[in-house]
């Protein structure tokens, strides 16, 4: 590359701007221009974490954060699979705090949800988490108290495999995506309650009237309602760096660079792409997947994706995270030299919702009718010998995956149909929800390059549990946008009369029906969703699954870990409004003997309990 004086100047300015933001950052979150040449292979078994309020500089502007060890994001915690670790958390705030280990299969009383798994960490007191994680990969951690996650209380976790890593790479970076606001999050939430559309600066107008008339106007629903909280108040960040701060990474041409991407935003789904550089997805939600090459994917809040990129040309590439409503974006740089700045692409045109997003797409009737065919698949997913053939079938007939349950069991499941409460909190019940697993997400269906869909994901390892679920639990995602009410089955968390119950050892199908106009990243603590996506015995297993508007999506769950587990939408203000439940996995007396969790519980309850 020839020397470009203008670029040099930009680079220098970029570095200068970055110093303010990066001065206090841990090494992994610093740009290459601040000496980060890749991730240090840190590991340990004892970690000291202090939660406090401290000033930070985001996008050149001074602001107050609540976070861990004085940085936004919080420190990278890296340890080895199956190794016992201790995390001593001191709360230096004047209010309660907590840390939840997102996606980690820990004993439920170490899961970190105040009121469900423990009492929370009181002001000026400490709490020690102790566990070993039976898994490896990219995860993250965050507060489950108040709205602290919005103001900086989140950080990455890497769990190194105890064996060899099937993913080969020469260099790695962690990219923690966030949506920063300089406004008090409680104030933001109150503002949404007062006027849920007041942060949307893409409303219907005289010249763009869709939504004012017809079905949309009659139902008082907006086709422009893509995000509740937008770039109007958010500054989108990567490792605490806005675009101007230029989080820059370096590579040597030909190197395989592993990017561990974590969406730690409070409310923002991101479209992630690297123009001119194909990305090979190797891991989703911490579990390895069969490598799949793509150019762009949409990332729900709390999801993680690891991708491998292998740039051969010695030039800077942009890493772009664009908010789903296209009200803003953040760009980082992967370049051959520290401090380089890639050109920022323009924000693309804003997509518009359709009747399908309302769960009323009549053209999708074909998809509905395939429900009947699902039962014709005589190869139950538990017959391992047949699963290869099933995968083959799925590849050959891509449209099979658009049926709600192409690999469902041969017999009709006993179904616990949601006891759906309608009333002021529920505007719409999707009349014809359909599977949208083979769609990339709102706004990505028309881009001129490859996109990733849930239907593309295949677990690298065979699924550990291939039993046919014995029953199906249906949960509706419900809302009234006008009143900013969000709930499961029409009942806010504050008004539930019972939790969802699973029996220990049970294999259960959870079907999520999205009656709202928004995609919801639904997170279940303590268990993975085995996504029913036509993957045979290589289904992706996820801790967070995005349910698109008007979609009906099924997951199978092995209720292995006794305890009370939080279950909620990971859009923080949706949870705060009541889109939350508890899943109680009740001890099964028939299988108490050989269960290590039970053994731990029994020991704890007799010896350690206060």
């Amino acid at each position: 590359m020839t020397f470009d004086r203008r670029r040099f100047l930009q680079t220098s300015l970029g570095s200068a701007a970055a110093i303010g933001a990066a001065g206090l950052l841990p090494a992994w979150a610093r740009p290459a221009s601040m000496g980060n040449m890749g991730l240090p292979a840190l590991s340990g078994t004892d970690f000291g974490l202090t939660v406090s309020k401290f000033p930070v500089r985001i996008n050149g502007r001074k602001t107050m954060a609540t976070g861990v060890n004085g940085t936004v994001p919080a420190p990278l915690i890296r340890f080895r699979e199956d190794t016992p670790i201790r995390l001593n958390v001191h709360n230096d705030l004047n209010v309660d705090t907590s840390i939840h280990w997102h996606g980690l299969l820990v004993p439920f009383h170490m899961d970190g949800v105040p009121g469900v798994s423990f009492p929370g960490i009181k002001p000026k007191s400490s709490f020690t988490y102790e566990f070993s994680a039976p898994q490896n990969g990219t995860y993250w951690y965050h507060s489950h108290s108040g709205l602290q996650e919005q103001v900086g209380h989140y950080g990455p976790i890497i769990i190194d495999p105890k064996g060899t890593d099937p993913v080969a790479y020469d260099r790695e970076y962690v990219l923690v995506l966030g949506d920063w606001t300089y406004t008090d999050p409680h104030h933001l939430f109150a503002r949404l309650k007062k006027n849920a559309e007041s942060l949307n600066f893409n409303q219907s107008t005289v010249s763009n009237p869709k939504g004012l008339t017809g079905m949309w106007g009659a139902m008082r629903m907006s086709p422009n309602d893509l995000a509740d909280v937008t770039g109007e108040t958010y500054t989108y960040v990567i490792n605490g760096h806005a675009t101007a701060d230029n989080f820059n990474m370096v590579f040597k041409p030909g190197e395989r660079v592993r990017l561990r991407i974590i969406n730690a935003a409070a409310m923002t789904l991101f479209n992630v792409r690297m123009p001119g550089l194909p990305m090979t997805v190797v891991q989703a939600d911490g579990l390895n997947v069969r490598p799949v090459e793509t150019d762009e994917f949409q990332m729900g809040v709390a999801e993680t994706y690891d991708v491998i990129v292998q740039p051969t040309e010695a030039k800077p590439f942009a890493f772009v995270a664009e908010s789903i409503d296209r009200s803003g974006q953040v760009v980082a740089t992967l370049g051959p030299r520290p401090g380089m700045r890639a050109a920022e692409p323009r924000i693309r045109a804003v997509p518009v919702l359709t009747m399908k997003d309302m769960g009323m797409d009549h053209s999708a009737m074909g998809g509905m009718s395939r429900m009947d065919h699902a039962g014709m698949d005589k190869a139950g997913p538990d017959t391992g010998a047949m699963s290869g053939a099933m995968d083959h079938a799925a590849m050959g007939h891509g449209d099979m995956t658009s049926g709600p349950d192409p690999f469902g069991p041969t017999v009709q499941l006993p179904r616990v149909e949601a006891d759906l409460t309608t009333g002021p909190g529920v505007v719409n019940v999707a009349a014809m929800p359909v599977s949208r697993l083979d769609e990339p997400g709102i706004g990505l269906d028309t881009v001129p390059h490859r996109t990733l869909t849930y239907a593309d994901l295949r677990s690298l390892d065979p699924n550990p549990d291939m039993r046919v679920p014995a029953r199906e639990v249906v949960v509706h995602l419900t809302s009234n946008m006008e009143r900013y009410m969000w709930s499961f089955d029409g009942v806010k968390f504050s008004e539930i009369t019972k939790p969802i119950t699973f029996m220990e050892g049970e294999r259960v199908r959870m079907t999520l029906v999205n009656d709202t106009m928004m995609p919801h990243p639904i997170h279940l603590h303590g268990m993975f969703f085995d996504l029913v996506n036509g993957g045979g015995n290589h289904r992706p297993r996820k801790h967070t699954v995005v349910v698109k508007p008007g979609e009906k999506l099924s997951t199978d769950i092995s209720a292995d870990h006794v305890g009370d587990w939080a279950f909620h939408c990971h859009l923080m203000y949706h949870m705060h409004a009541g889109m939350m439940q508890v899943v109680s996995v009740l001890p099964n007396p028939m299988m108490r003997r050989n269960d290590p969790v039970d053994a731990a519980m029994a020991r704890q309850s007799t010896e350690d309990a206060p």
Partner: protein, 273 residues
């Protein structure tokens, strides 16, 4: 005085305790579930009492947050001749998703005569009964003219095609029945420039001579206001309004030397917190 006690006092004044019963329905449910609790497996690790407290906090925090709002829909000067007239029209509320306390007030001050011409304040219990509709009940007190008190029953909400509607019937302590219908629509020319057609109609079941109101449709006030949202919460506007009285109301006004048919220009501010 705290907002909570405002609500408490208001409910007592309104004497709608029977209507408030649904408020405590959840508490009763929770009590009923208390022997088993909603979930309790962590109790044995950390203790029953601390977990009970944390559980209650968590439930309240995720779904039961209370909010308040103060909306000055119209805070304007009307060119009614001479020094003109100042008008206020605001609504404030406090509460949860289903039950809210509303305070509404509107009134006019004549700058020409330097006196308050009309002023009223309403305290209402508002209950969401459908996704877009609240039923409201309470009292209205007229500060000017005279000190009349009314019982109020109304419906407020969002009609299909995005029309904001606020209607109420008023029964005064003298036994006079009247009603008011207000409807507004936001027509956006851009993300900040909004034309708001608005109409208000007043009806009365009988002549009320001493306040100059005649039976039937007494008046309508259609108008348009063009506002610019410097922020969504702060929007100055200009507009024009037709103030038209009918029947006996018009006669009473003319008999008192007033004008029963006016077109006035307005300039004002729409703001909310």
């Amino acid at each position: 005085m705290s907002v909570l006690s405002v609500r408490g006092v208001a409910f007592t004044i309104l004497g709608v305790s029977a209507l408030v019963a649904p408020l405590s329905a959840h508490a009763q449910n929770a009590d009923a579930a208390e022997p088993d609790k909603l979930w309790s497996m962590a109790d044995r690790y950390w203790g029953e009492a601390v977990m009970a407290e944390a559980r209650d906090d968590l439930l309240a925090e995720n779904g039961d947050m209370k909010t308040s709002m103060l909306m000055f829909d119209r805070l304007e000067w009307q060119d009614t001749g001479g020094d003109g007239t100042l008008l206020w029209d605001f609504q404030g509320w406090y509460g949860g998703d289903i039950n809210k306390l509303y305070i509404k007030s509107e009134g006019e001050v004549s700058l020409e005569d330097d006196e308050i011409e009309d002023a009223e304040v309403q305290a209402l219990w508002s209950r969401a009964v459908a996704p877009f509709w609240d039923v409201q009940a309470g009292i209205r007190y007229d500060l000017e003219p005279k000190g009349r008190t009314h019982a109020v029953l109304g419906i407020q909400g969002l009609a299909p095609y995005w029309f904001e509607v606020d209607t109420a019937a008023f029964l005064s302590t003298d036994g006079d029945l009247s009603a008011r219908i207000e409807a507004e629509y936001d027509l956006r020319f851009s993300q900040r420039l909004v034309l708001q057609p608005r109409i208000e109609a007043n009806l009365s079941a009988q002549d009320i001579r001493d306040i100059g109101v005649g039976a039937g449709l007494s008046s309508i006030e259609p108008g348009v206001r063009l506002r610019y949202e410097i922020r969504r919460t702060f929007a100055p506007y200009i507009g024009v309004e037709w103030q038209k009285q009918f029947g006996n109301t018009a006669d009473f006004t003319r008999a008192d030397g007033g004008d029963a048919d006016n077109i006035v220009g307005v300039i004002g501010l729409r703001t909310w917190f």
